[in-house]
C-alpha cells in the first residue's frame, strides 16, 4: 500500500474517535443523542480529507502517519473543549480551518523549503521582534504576570508561537554553516570554539534570558533554549555544548528566580502547592493544587467523559481548564490510562519527527526537523510537566489539544514543514 493510502486509512480511527467523543459528551449533557455528533464527525473528516488531498497532490512521498496523529490529537482537543464550553469549541474549530489554510499555504508556497536559508537573518530579526512585541505598549497584554499575547483590534495572538518556528529555521541554517568550525579548535583537551563562532549562539542564550526578563515566562524560555541545545548537540555531536548550555541556563534561571518576583512566586508555588498562604495568594498555588486534586479524582480509569468538575454554578474550580490545565481535565475524565494514552500519541508524533530527521539527507533538513520536533516535544513537557508538578507551571499550550488560535496555526505550520522535509527525504531515499 502506498504512503497516501496508508494515511487515508489512518484517518479512520481519528474520525471514529471524534464521533464517539461527541457522542459521549452529548449523552452526558442530557440532550438526546442526535445526529449532530455524526455531523461534527463528518465535518472533521472532511477537513482531514482536504488536508490529505493537498498532501496527495503536492507531497506524495511524505510521512503517512503525521496527519493521522495530528487528527487524533485535534479530535481529543475539540471534544474536551466542546465539553468545557461549546462556544470555545466552535472558535477552536474555526481556528482549525485557519490552521489548515496555513498548512496548505506552507506546502504550496514552500515547494522547496531550502529557500528559507537565504532569508535566515531576516527571519531571525523578525522572530526576535515578534518575541518582544507583547512588551510594546498599546498592543501588549499581560496574563498571570507573563507577557505572551498581543491584541490587534479584535484579534489577539501569541507571537512567541510563530517566533519559535523562525528561530529554529535560523538556527538550523546557521548551525549547518558553522558546525564544522565549532568543533575545529581544541584547547586543554576540550572543544573550545572561537568567540566569533560561538558568539551568535551566546546571543541565543542571551535571548532566552531576555525572554525570562521581558516576557517573564520560564516555560517558553526553557522550550526555546532546550530546542536550541538539541540542535547544537546534533550539529556538533559534542556533549560539552548542551552540558555547558544547561549550566548557563540554570545559573540564569536561578538568578532571575531570586530577583524577578513573578518567577520566584511561580517556583515557590511549585514547591509548596498546599501552603495555605501561597494557596490563597492571587497568582499563587491555587491552580497547581486544583490540577493535582483533579488528577487524583481521576484515578486509574477516570471519572468518565463529561464528568469532570470544572465549575459550580458560575464559579470556576479549575482555572484555565481549556488551555493550561487541559491535561488535568483529560486525566480527571479518562484517568491515568487516558493521560498515558495521550502521552503515547505525542511520543508517536515525536518519533515520526525524529525519523524524518534521520531520513533527511542534508544537514539543514536534519537540523530543522530535529529543532521543530524537539520544540513540540518540549512544549508538551513544559505544560504537562507544569500541570503534574514536575516543573513550575507556566502558561504554554498543549499542542493541537489546548484551546488557542496561534498555537493551532503555528503547530500546523510546523507539521507542514516536517511533511515537506519528509517528502524530499523519502523521495531521495527511494531513488
Amino acid at each position: 500500500m502506498n504512503a497516501r493510502n496508508r494515511e487515508l486509512l489512518g484517518l479512520l480511527p481519528a474520525s471514529l474517535l471524534i464521533v464517539a467523543g461527541f457522542g459521549a459528551v452529548f449523552l452526558q449533557e442530557q440532550t438526546q443523542l442526535d445526529n449532530l455528533s455524526l455531523t461534527y464527525g463528518a465535518i472533521f473528516l472532511g477537513l482531514c480529507f482536504a488536508a490529505h488531498l493537498i498532501i496527495r497532490v503536492r507531497l506524495p512521498d511524505a510521512d503517512p502517519y503525521l496527519l493521522p496523529i495530528i487528527a487524533v490529537l485535534a479530535s481529543i482537543g475539540l471534544v474536551v473543549i466542546y465539553r468545557l464550553n461549546e462556544t470555545l469549541a466552535r472558535d477552536q474549530a474555526q481556528w482549525f480551518v485557519i490552521g489548515l489554510i496555513a498548512f496548505a499555504a506552507t506546502i504550496v508556497l514552500l515547494r522547496d523549503y531550502r529557500v528559507l536559508e537565504r532569508y535566515r537573518y531576516l527571519i531571525a530579526a523578525a522572530s526576535i521582534a515578534l518575541l518582544l512585541l507583547p512588551r510594546v505598549p498599546g498592543i501588549g497584554q499581560q496574563a498571570n504576570g507573563a507577557y505572551l499575547g498581543i491584541s490587534l483590534g479584535p484579534v489577539s495572538f501569541q507571537p512567541a508561537e510563530f517566533a519559535k518556528i523562525g528561530i529554529i529555521i535560523f538556527l538550523a541554517s546557521y548551525l549547518r554553516d558553522t558546525r564544522a568550525l565549532l568543533v575545529s579548535r581544541k584547547r586543554y583537551g576540550i572543544t573550545l570554539p572561537r568567540l566569533k563562532h560561538i558568539g551568535p549562539l551566546l546571543l541565543v542564550w542571551g535571548l532566552a534570558m531576555l525572554m525570562l526578563v521581558f516576557i517573564r515566562d520560564l516555560g517558553s524560555s526553557l522550550m526555546f533554549f532546550g530546542g536550541f541545545l538539541a540542535m547544537l548537540y546534533v550539529a556538533t555531536d559534542r556533549l560539552i555544548f548542551p552540558v555547558v548550555g544547561f549550566g548557563l541556563f540554570g545559573i540564569g534561571a536561578w538568578f532571575f528566580a531570586t530577583t524577578v518576583g513573578h518567577v520566584g512566586d511561580r517556583i515557590s508555588a511549585w514547591q509548596h502547592p498546599f501552603d495555605p498562604k501561597l494557596y490563597e495568594q492571587i497568582g499563587g498555588s491555587y491552580q497547581i493544587a486544583q490540577s493535582l486534586f483533579a488528577q487524583a479524582d481521576g484515578g486509574l480509569w477516570g471519572e468518565g467523559f463529561g464528568q469532570a468538575l470544572i465549575s459550580v454554578g458560575d464559579s470556576p474550580i479549575l482555572p484555565a481548564a481549556q488551555t493550561d490545565l487541559i491535561y488535568a481535565v483529560i486525566v480527571n475524565e479518562l484517568g491515568l490510562i487516558g493521560g498515558i494514552a495521550l502521552l503515547l500519541v505525542y511520543v508517536l508524533l515525536i518519533e515520526r519527527g525524529f525519523r524524518i530527521a534521520v531520513l533527511a539527507r542534508d544537514s539543514f533538513s536534519k537540523l530543522l526537523a530535529t529543532g521543530l520536533t524537539t520544540v513540540v516535544a518540549l512544549q508538551v513537557f513544559v505544560i504537562v510537566g507544569g500541570v503534574t508538578k514536575v516543573i513550575p507551571l507556566t502558561g504554554v499550550t498543549l499542542p493541537f489539544v489546548s484551546y488557542g488560535g496561534s498555537s493551532i496555526v503555528a503547530n500546523f505550520v510546523i507539521v507542514a514543514l516536517l511533511l515537506l522535509i519528509s517528502d524530499r527525504a523519502r523521495r531521495e531515499a527511494r531513488r
Binding site: 548537540y233 488528577q295 486509574l300 468538575l309 454554578g313 510537566g385
Partner: protein, 480 residues
C-alpha cells in the same frame, strides 16, 4: 548526525517517562492523600450538584432536605431548625459536613458503584441521593428541650430492645440553616457554651451515683453479692486510705445492697467496688461500652469514649480501670477519674432493661433509593451480653425501689413502673455547683424506653429533684 538525533529522542523519551510517572503518582500513588487534603473541596463541590436525600424522623417529619437553586446546584435546608441540630448535623460547602449528614454521606449522595452506576449514567440519569429514615421522635425531643429550659445539658432516650435512638437533645443548640453564612459559622464556632458540640456523645462528665448501677451489675452478676447482702454503710469509711463521706455525712450502719442503692450510700458501693476489684470492674465496664468511643452511627470525631481519664504528664488520656492511677473504690461511685457521655449512661440503663443484653445504639433505621426501594437496612445489632437475665432482673427490682421510695421518686409515672438511678456529681464544692443525673427505663416489666438525663451545672441541685422530672416528662411523651 543520526546518532545524536537518536540520543536527543532518547532524552525526550526519558522526560516523557517522567511525565508518565508523575501522572501515576497523582492519580494512583498519592491519590488518597490528595483527596484527604483539607484544601481539596472537590467532593463537596461535586455534591452541590447532587439532589441529596432527605433525612426524616420516625413520624415522617422532614429534618433535612435539598432545594434546587437557579444555577442548578442544590442547597440544604433544615425545616425543623435546631430541633435535632447536633444529631442531624449539616452539609454546606463552607463548614463541610457533620452528624448524620457526614456519617451517611455516601447514602445521602447516592453514590452508586459498579454496574448499576454505569447503567444509570448511560440512561442519562442524574445522580440522586437516598432518603435516610431515623427512629427519632420529634415530639419527645421537643419535650426534652423544653424541660432542659435553656440549661446546658443533654437528654438521650433509646429503645432498649433494639437500640433505636428516639431522643438526642443537646443544649445549647443552634439553627443549622445559619451555617450557610461564613460569618455565622465563625460566630457559632467560638460561641460560649459550644452549641456545635453534641453533648450526648462528645460531652464527658462525671456520672456520679448513676455509675453505681454498673458497680451493682458487676457485684451481683459475678456472684460475689446478692441484693440482700449487707455491707457497713457508716460515714467516713477509709477508701484507698482516705475517709469517704456519704451525702450529708449520714451513717447507715449495716445495710443491704437494695437499700444502699435506694439511698445511694457511697461508702457501701465504694467497698463493694474495691472487693469486686479492678479486673472484674474493668470487664463489666467494657461490656457496658466503656473504654471505646460510644458506638452509634455518628462520625468518629463526634464520639468520645467513657472511662477513666488520668493525666500523668498533664495531658488527659483514657486508661484502663486496672491502671495504677485509678482509685477503684471512688471510681465505683462515679467519682475520681471517671467520665462518661450521656449516651453511655443511657446504654447502662438499656442493658439492664433488656435483660442483660446491650443493643448497639442506632439513629438511622434504613435508606430508601429514589425508586422507593430499601437501599440500606440498619438492622438492630447486639453490642454485648453484659450480665445474665437473672442478674438484670435483680438489678431492675433494686432500681424500681429507687423510684418508688428512694432518691428518684420524682420520676414516678402514674400506672407505669419506672426503674432508675439518680446521680449528683460535685463540680465545685465551695460554690455548691453540682451536676444532676438521672438514668431510667420503663415500663419495668416490659421496657420500651431507656433514658439518661444530665444538667451540666446547677446550684445545689440533685439528680432526684432536677434531672428525674425531665426523664419523667420525656418517658411519658414516648410511652403515651
Amino acid at each position: 548526525m543520526n546518532k545524536p538525533i537518536i540520543r536527543v529522542f532518547a532524552v525526550l523519551l526519558v522526560l516523557f517517562g517522567l511525565l508518565a510517572y508523575f501522572t501515576t503518582r497523582w492519580t494512583v500513588i498519592d491519590r488518597a492523600e490528595l483527596q484527604d487534603n483539607p484544601q481539596n473541596k472537590r467532593e463537596l463541590l461535586a455534591q452541590q450538584r447532587i439532589a441529596r436525600g432527605s433525612i426524616e424522623a420516625a413520624s415522617g417529619t422532614v429534618l433535612a432536605r435539598s432545594v434546587r437553586r437557579s444555577d442548578g446546584t442544590y442547597a440544604r435546608r433544615y425545616p425543623e431548625g435546631g430541633l435535632f441540630a447536633q444529631t442531624v448535623g449539616y452539609s454546606f460547602l463552607n463548614p463541610g459536613t457533620a452528624g448524620l449528614e457526614r456519617f451517611y454521606n455516601g447514602q445521602l449522595t447516592g453514590r452508586t458503584a459498579g454496574l448499576e452506576g454505569t447503567l444509570r449514567k448511560l440512561q442519562g440519569k442524574r445522580q440522586q441521593g437516598n432518603d435516610l429514615q431515623t427512629a427519632l421522635d420529634p415530639l419527645a425531643q421537643q419535650v426534652a428541650i423544653d424541660q432542659l429550659a435553656g440549661r446546658a445539658g443533654a437528654v438521650v432516650a433509646l429503645d432498649p430492645r433494639n437500640g433505636r435512638v428516639k431522643v438526642m437533645a443537646s443544649i445549647p443548640s443552634y439553627d443549622p440553616n445559619v451555617l450557610r453564612s461564613a460569618r455565622q459559622t465563625a460566630r457559632l464556632n467560638s460561641a460560649p457554651g459550644a452549641p456545635l458540640l453534641n453533648r450526648t456523645t462528645a460531652g464527658l462528665y462525671p456520672p456520679g451515683s448513676t455509675f453505681k448501677v454498673v458497680t451493682a451489675a458487676a457485684a451481683i452478676d459475678s456472684g460475689l453479692y446478692e441484693p440482700s447482702s449487707t455491707v457497713n454503710g457508716d460515714n467516713a469509711i477509709p477508701i484507698s486510705g482516705v475517709p469517704l463521706n456519704n451525702d450529708g455525712g449520714q451513717s447507715f450502719g449495716e445495710v443491704d445492697l437494695t437499700t444502699a442503692l435506694t439511698q445511694s450510700v457511697n461508702t457501701v458501693w465504694a467497698q463493694v467496688g474495691e472487693r469486686v476489684g479492678k479486673r472484674r470492674m474493668s470487664r463489666y465496664m467494657e461490656r457496658f461500652g466503656f473504654g471505646s468511643p460510644v458506638p452509634v452511627d455518628l462520625p468518629p470525631s463526634e464520639r468520645l469514649a467513657s472511662g477513666l481519664y488520668c493525666s500523668p504528664d498533664g495531658n488527659r488520656e483514657l486508661v484502663s480501670p486496672t491502671d495504677s492511677c485509678v482509685d477503684i473504690g471512688r471510681a465505683s461511685i462515679g467519682q475520681d477519674k471517671l467520665l462518661a457521655t450521656p449516651l453511655q449512661m443511657a446504654m447502662v440503663a438499656s442493658a439492664v432493661a433488656n435483660r442483660g443484653i446491650l443493643m448497639r445504639p442506632a439513629i438511622a433505621t434504613r435508606t430508601i433509593d429514589p425508586e422507593g426501594r430499601t437501599a440500606y437496612e440498619n438492622t438492630p445489632q447486639r453490642f454485648s451480653r453484659v450480665m445474665s437475665a437473672a442478674s438484670a432482673e435483680k438489678l431492675t427490682a433494686m432500681m424500681q425501689r429507687v423510684v418508688q421510695e428512694g432518691t428518684g421518686t420524682a420520676a414516678a409515672l402514674s400506672g407505669i413502673e419506672v426503674a432508675g438511678k439518680t446521680g449528683t456529681a460535685e463540680r465545685d464544692v465551695i460554690n455548691n455547683i453540682t451536676q444532676p443525673w438521672f438514668i431510667a427505663f420503663a415500663p419495668a416489666s416490659d421496657p420500651q424506653i431507656a433514658i439518661a438525663v444530665t444538667i451540666e451545672k446547677t446550684v445545689g441541685g440533685f439528680g432526684g429533684t432536677d434531672a428525674a422530672p425531665i426523664a419523667k416528662a420525656v418517658m411519658e411523651s414516648v410511652l403515651r
